[in-house]
């Protein structure tokens, strides 16, 4: 059963929440959607929330870093947020790194950072 990954647009940013056990095909479709939307909607930042992922293996890690790179080529900074503690530990044991991609604790932190680097004030619509 294909799962729809929710994509929220907040100002010039997209917030994507990966659902647990997202399949290879879902990830590939998501990648395409994100890269297209960055162009169509002039997106400056994409926050990829992986807090629902119970496992991040080498394939998921490689795909996420490739998505981040592709988005960067289109002028949007991708930030991965919400890597769970056990997942972070297992990734390190496995030897995975997301060295070239910025990671943060949660979407709020990522948006604060994006506001700073895109030289925006407090985000429109936020309290």
């Amino acid at each position: 059963m294909p799962t729809q990954t929710p994509i929220l647009k907040q100002g010039d940013y997209l917030i994507v929440s990966l659902q647990d056990a997202v399949s290879d095909t879902d990830l590939a479709a998501l990648w395409r959607t994100l890269v297209e939307r960055v162009g169509a909607q002039r997106i400056r930042g994409v926050v990829i929330d992986v807090s629902a992922l119970d496992v991040i293996d080498s394939f998921a890690c490689r795909t996420l870093t490739q998505v981040a790179q592709a988005l960067g080529l289109r002028g949007a900074e991708a930030i991965i947020v919400g890597i769970q503690p056990d997942v972070a530990f297992s990734m390190v044991q496995l030897g995975l790194s997301v060295r070239d991609v910025r990671t943060m604790l949660d979407p709020e932190e990522a948006i604060e950072y994006l506001d700073r680097v895109t030289r925006r004030g407090p985000h429109a619509g936020r309290a």
Partner: protein
């Protein structure tokens, strides 16, 4: 190379009594989610901590992905093992009839890949699990037997 019919045969010889055996055919990417689900179902029966469950699931998914990438198809067997000394663990057996690995020592080294990937699957799975054995024969296939103990085990 030893080709055993069931996980029970192999794991019983190595570790102890096997129960709750689950067999998952590995044929495409969708089967990896079944592996994750299977371990999620077995983990509570063992008293594995969340960290142990995540580590074991990560290792099992790496092994399953290796099957897909190198052999195209294979199978993964999961089970609960109880040792003579009262220890409990999750046992994972991954096997395929793919091309086999010519140089196991090389394959167990970080960063070595014949598929253009990260090359972390086998050595990484070994680090993530508590017990790990691999057998392979060129032209015949590969089998990995590994276990995650919920209680310390020698």
């Amino acid at each position: 190379m030893v080709l055993v019919e069931t996980l029970a045969d192999l794991a019983t010889a190595r570790y102890g009594t096997v129960s709750d055996e689950v067999c998952i055919a590995i044929r495409d990417g969708a089967d990896l989610a079944v592996v994750q689900h299977g371990i999620g179902v077995l983990a509570p029966r063992l008293g594995l901590s969340a960290l142990q469950r995540v580590a074991a699931t990560t290792a099992a998914m790496e092994l399953a992905r290796n099957i897909l990438v190198h052999a195209g198809a294979g199978e993964m067997l999961l089970g609960v093992v109880r040792t003579a000394s009262g220890g409990r663990g999750l046992v994972v057996y991954a096997r395929d009839e793919g091309p086999g690995i010519a140089d196991l020592a090389l394959a167990m080294r970080d960063g070595y890949s014949t598929a253009g990937s990260l090359g972390l699957g086998l050595p990484g799975a070994r680090r993530l699990m508590d017990a790990f054995e691999i057998e392979s024969a060129v032209g015949r296939g590969t089998a990995v037997l590994c276990a995650k103990w919920s209680t310390p085990h020698e």
